[in-house]
Assembly symmetry: D2
Homo-oligomer: 339 residues x 4
C-alpha cells in the first residue's frame, strides 16, 4: 500500500496512554494517520483533534468507526469500556489494537472471543507490548531456537519506583503481574494452570494495607515453575528482568547497561525511572507492527485468546492473594480458531 | 504539517545505502514519502520506483529536483558525485541530507561551503549518524552537563569483522576513522589541530600491503588528546567503543550487552556483525529527525562546516599515514555563518 | 603467639576434603602445622603423615587428640562420625573446626549443643565457609550497614555442572541447599520458620527419579521470604548467586566476571566448573581465620547453634520435599549461651 | 621443608611497604618467619622486632644478613639503598625478594646484573607484583595459550585517586608507568624498543607544573604498539585496566565488579581507593610464591634482567617526557644467563 493511502486510525480514549498513541501514530509510526479521536470528554477530544489536520473529534466510538476515513481502531479507553468498543469494531469488521486488559474479567473476554469467532477471522490484537521489547524478543528467539533445550523455570523481577496512591493489592496482579503472566505464556508457549501468591512482610514505603512486595508462583501445563517478584515501591527506579533456566543453559535479560561511569568512588550507571522510558521502543514497535500488518491485510500479535487467558490467570491470582492458597486456573478449551 | 502533506523526498543514488534509505523513508519514518529515485543505472532506479506508488525514476539528479513533488533531497550517491548534487540542490534552495563524506576532499567541501553561504541560510545536513546513536547522545549529554568536568582524553575503539577486498589504507582514514574524527569534534566542541597515524605490525588476516590495525592520535585546539584504534579485520564482529577521561570521572560507551547467557562453561552474549545492525536505530533516528526538522522549516544536525572540517582532518590523517609523521590540520577561519 | 609455636592441628578424616585441608594448613595458612592425621584407613593416614615432618598418623580420633603436639582439631570425616569426634574434643577442651554438617540430624546436634554448654565456653566452629567468601562478606556488610534498609526477600541461585551418580533428592537439601539456609540465617540474622519445596518438571539430564531442579521457599521469623533455586545438573558450570531485595535498594552477588573476551562473534568469559575453584579463597580465609582466632584464645564463626539450626531446617526441607507441602521448622529455644 | 624449619627472613626497610611485608610474612604467608628487621631508624626497627618472638632489630643490612637465623632477604628500603643491599646479599648467596625498582637507574642495575652472573646462579626476584594478580595471570595464560593469536596492541589504563604532594612528572614514569612497562614485557615476551610520552592539557586537580594525565606509547621489538594512560589525580578511585588486541580476539581485564547495587536511580558498585586494596591478593601471592620457591631451593618470578630492562625503558620515558620526542631504548645484549 502506498504512502498516500496511510491507514486512517480512530483512537478511542485520550487519557495518558491514548494521547501518547496519538503522538506515536502522528510523529513516529510510518504509514498511518489519526483521522478520529474519541473521548467522552468532548473538549479533550476536540483539543487533540484540532492539532491534527484531517482529524475529527467524537464522543462515541460507534460514530467514529462509522466514518469514511476510519480504517482501523486503537482502543485506549479504561478497561470497562473495552468490551462495547470491541464488539462495535468487530461488528464493522474493523482491525483493532486494544490496550491491555482486553476486558476486565474472563467472562467479558469470553464474549469478545465469541464475537470474533462469529466474524470468522481474527481482527483484534491485544496490547501486550513486552512481546515487542528487543530483549524479550531475543529471549523468545533463543528459547524457540532450541539451543538451550526446554525451559524448566522462569524468574521474573518487576520493580517500580513507586505506585500512585490509589493502587491496590488487586492491581498489583491485574495491572502489573499480568505482564509476566502474558510473557510467560508467550515465551513458553504453554498455558498457566495454577497461581500462588506469597506476601512477605511489606516495605515500610508502601501505603498501610498494601502488601508490597509480593511473590507469585505460576505453574504451567508442562510443569515449568515460574516466579514473579512484584515490588511496587522499590524506591530506586523501574526494573524489569527475566531469567530462563533451561536444560542446557540459563539466560537473563533486563540488566541495566548504557554509559558506564566511574566517578566518586563508584562505577555504574542510571536506571530508567518508569515504563514509558523503559518500553518506549516496544510501544513504537508494537504500533508500527500493527499498522504494517493491517495495511497488508494481516493480523498478528497477541490475540483475543491471549487476552482471555491473561484475564483468567489474573482472576486466579487475585483469589490466591485474597485467600492465601494455591488456586488453579479455569480455562475453556482452546478453540481451533485460535491455534 | 499534516500527515497528508508528507515530505516528498528524492533519493539520489540507489546503491546499498541509498536503497536502505528508500526503505527507511517508506517503511520506518513518519511524515515522508519517496517521490523520486535517481541513479545513472536507469534500470535499477526504475525497479525501485515501480515498487512505490507515486515514485518516479530519474537518471539525473537535476531532473528529479525539478519535479513538483520533490520537497527535499537525500544524497546517497558515491562521494565524487556529491558536489554537483549539492550545488544543484542549493541552487534550488532544497533541504538536503547528504551521506558522508560531504565531498571527497577539503577543496570541494569549501566550494559547497561557499555556495551555502551565498544562499544565505543553512540547507544541508551531513550524514554523520553516530551523533544519533543513543549511547553517543547520552555521552554527549554527560559531557555537556558538566558534572564530570572538562574532557582531557578520549579513547576510541573501532573494529570491523573484516573489510571488502578493495579497501585501502586511505579508506581506513577516510571511511572509518572519519566517524571518530566527527564525534570527537562534536563531543568536545573543539577543532582537531593535528593527526599522527601509527602503524603497528599488521594482523596476518589483512591483505598484503594493508596496515591493519592502525592507531591514530588526534590533538584538539584546547589540548585534549584523542586516540583511535581502527582495526579492519578483527575477525569477531563490529565493535565501536568510546571512553571519555574527564577531570572528575570517566565514562565508557559501547560495551556489548543484551541477553546474558550462561552455557557451555561460558557467560556472555552476541556481538553485532556489522554497522547496519549496530547503528540501525541511529540511521532511523537521523532520518526521522531530518524529516521532522525539514517539515518544521528548520535545519539541525551536522553542517557543511562539519563536513569540511572532517575532510580537512582526513587529509592530514592520510598524509600522516603516508609519511609516518605528525601532520597539522589546516582549516580556514570558521565563518560566523556556521557558529 | 610466635611463629615458632605454630598451632598443632589434628585433621580427622583424610578424604577429598580432609586432604585438601591438610594441604591448606601446610602450604597456605600462616601459623599452623599439621601434627596429626586420622583415618580409619591406616594406610591412607600414614602416607599423608609421612609427607609432613612432625606429623603422626592415627586411626582413632581420641588417640590423636591425646597427643602432646595436638592443640586443635579439624574434623573432616563423614557426617555420621562427627558427633563422637566432637564430644571427644569437647571432653578435652580442644578448639574444633568441624566441616558441615555439624551432625547428620537435629537430635544429634542437640547433644553436641548440650556438651558444649556443659563445658561452659564455646569451642566449636562449624564449616559454613560461604560466610568467608568475599562477595558474601560484602553483602553482609551492606545489609548490616543499614543503608539499604530492611531486607524483604532473598533470591538464591545454586547451580552445579552435574552431581555424582549417588546423589539423592535428600542430598540436594542436606548437602546443597543447606548452604543457602545458613547464609540466609546469617545475612538476615533471623531464624527460618518454614520450608516449602517445589518440584518443577525435571531436566532430562538428571538421573531417573531425581527431581532436578527444585525451588525452595524459606520463611523467616520476621516475615522475609527467601527462594532458592537448586539445580544439580545445569550442565554449564558452578554458579552461586544471591540477590537481596531491601526497602531502599537491591544488591546482587555472584555474577561472573574476570577477563572479558571478544572473539568469534561473542563477548564474555569463563564460568568456574566447581566449588573448589569458586570458593577456594573462602576455604583459605575460613581456616586462616580459625587458626588466628584459636591462637589468640578466641572463638568466632558459625557456632554449634548454627549447626543445629541448619540441621533442623534441613529436616523440615526433606519432609516438605517428600510430602509436597509447607513444613514448619521446630527449634528449641535459643540458649542464652549462644546469643 | 617441614613447618618447623620456617624460612627465616630479614626485612630490610620498615617503612609503609616494609612494615606491610613484615605483617604479611607473620600473619598471612605459610612457611616463613621474620627473624630480622633492618632500618636506619633504630627505634622503628626495635619496636617492630619486639612485637615478634625471635626477631632481632638491626640498623645495618649486612649485620642482619650475617645472622644465623636469616635464610633470605626481603628488600623494601628506598630505591637508592637497593644496590648495596643486593650486592651484600649476593655476596652471601642469600635469596632475595627486592621491591621495585631493582635500582634507580640502568647503570646501577647493570652492576647488580654483573654480580649475579658472577655468582653463577640466580638469587634475586624483583617485586613486580602485578604478575601475581589473578586477572593479569589469566590474561597472560590466554595470550600464551595462543587461541587469540598474536597480540598486536595493548591498551593500559592506570588511574589513581590522587598523588602525594611530592610526586613529580618523573615519578609518574618511574613509579607508576613502570608497572605497565614490566607487564608489557612479560605479557608479550618482547623487549620495548622506543617510548613516546604525550602530555595533554592537564587536569585542574593536579599540582601546578605537573602534567597529569600523560599518555605513553611503547613500541616493542616485534612491532606491537602499546599505549598507557597514566592519570595521577583521577579523583574517583584506583583503576588499573588492560586490553589486549589480538589477531583473533580482544580481551580486557580490570573492570570493576563485586556486589551490584541498584539504589537511588543508579546501578553499580564500589571502586577500590588504592593499590593496597586492589593488589592485596597479588602481594600475598607474590610473597607466598617467593617463600615456597625459596624453600624448595628454586628461583622464579621477575629477574634482575627484568629490573634492568624496566630501568632502561623508564630512562627513555623520562627523556621523552622532558624533550617531547620519541626516544629509543638502549639495552645491552641479553646474557644467555637470563634467557
Amino acid at each position: 500500500m502506498p504512502p498516500q493511502r496511510a491507514l486512517g486510525v480512530a483512537v478511542v480514549g485520550t487519557g495518558k496512554m491514548g494521547a501518547d498513541h496519538v503522538r506515536r501514530l502522528h510523529d513516529v509510526v510510518s504509514g498511518a494517520r489519526v483521522t478520529a479521536v474519541v473521548d467522552i470528554e468532548a473538549e479533550r477530544a476536540k483539543t487533540l483533534a484540532d492539532a491534527i489536520e484531517g482529524c475529527t473529534a467524537y464522543t462515541e466510538p460507534a460514530a467514529a468507526m462509522a466514518a469514511q476515513d476510519v480504517d482501523a481502531v486503537l482502543i485506549a479507553s479504561p478497561g470497562p469500556a473495552h468490551e462495547a468498543a470491541l464488539l462495535e469494531a468487530l461488528g464493522r469488521d474493523l482491525p483493532v489494537l486494544c490496550e491491555k486488559p482486553l476486558t476486565p474479567d474472563a467472562a467479558s473476554a469470553l464474549r469478545v472471543l465469541a464475537a470474533e469467532q462469529r466474524l470468522g477471522h481474527r481482527r483484534v490484537q491485544v496490547g501486550f507490548m513486552r512481546r515487542y521489547d528487543t530483549e524479550y524478543m531475543k529471549l523468545k528467539r533463543l528459547l524457540d531456537g532450541g539451543e538451550l533445550g526446554r525451559a524448566l523455570m522462569l524468574h521474573h523481577r518487576h520493580r517500580n519506583l513507586s505506585m500512585p496512591p490509589w493502587f491496590t493489592n488487586e492491581m498489583l496482579i491485574n495491572d502489573s503481574v499480568v505482564h509476566e503472566m502474558d510473557v510467560t505464556r508467550w515465551l513458553l508457549d504453554q498455558e498457566i494452570t495454577a497461581v500462588t501468591v506469597h506476601k512477605p512482610a511489606p516495605t515500610s514505603h508502601a501505603p498501610a494495607g498494601m502488601n508490597d512486595p509480593q511473590f507469585v508462583l505460576l505453574e504451567t501445563e508442562l510443569g515449568a515453575l515460574v516466579d514473579v517478584e512484584i515490588f511496587g515501591h522499590c524506591g530506586y527506579g523501574y526494573q524489569v528482568q527475566a531469567e530462563a533456566v533451561c536444560e542446557r543453559g540459563t539466560v537473563r535479560i533486563g540488566d541495566e547497561h548504557g554509559p558506564r561511569l566511574s566517578t566518586d568512588g563508584r562505577w555504574g550507571g542510571r536506571i530508567t525511572p518508569d515504563y514509558v522510558e523503559r518500553f518506549e521502543d516496544a510501544y513504537d514497535r508494537e504500533v508500527q507492527s500493527w499498522v504494517d500488518a493491517t495495511r497488508r491485510g494481516e493480523i498478528a500479535g497477541p490475540s483475543v485468546w491471549d487476552g482471555y487467558a491473561a484475564a483468567a490467570v489474573c482472576e486466579a491470582g487475585v483469589l490466591s492473594q485474597r485467600e492465601g492458597r494455591r488456586v488453579e486456573v479455569e480455562l475453556i478449551e482452546r478453540p481451533a480458531f485460535y491455534r
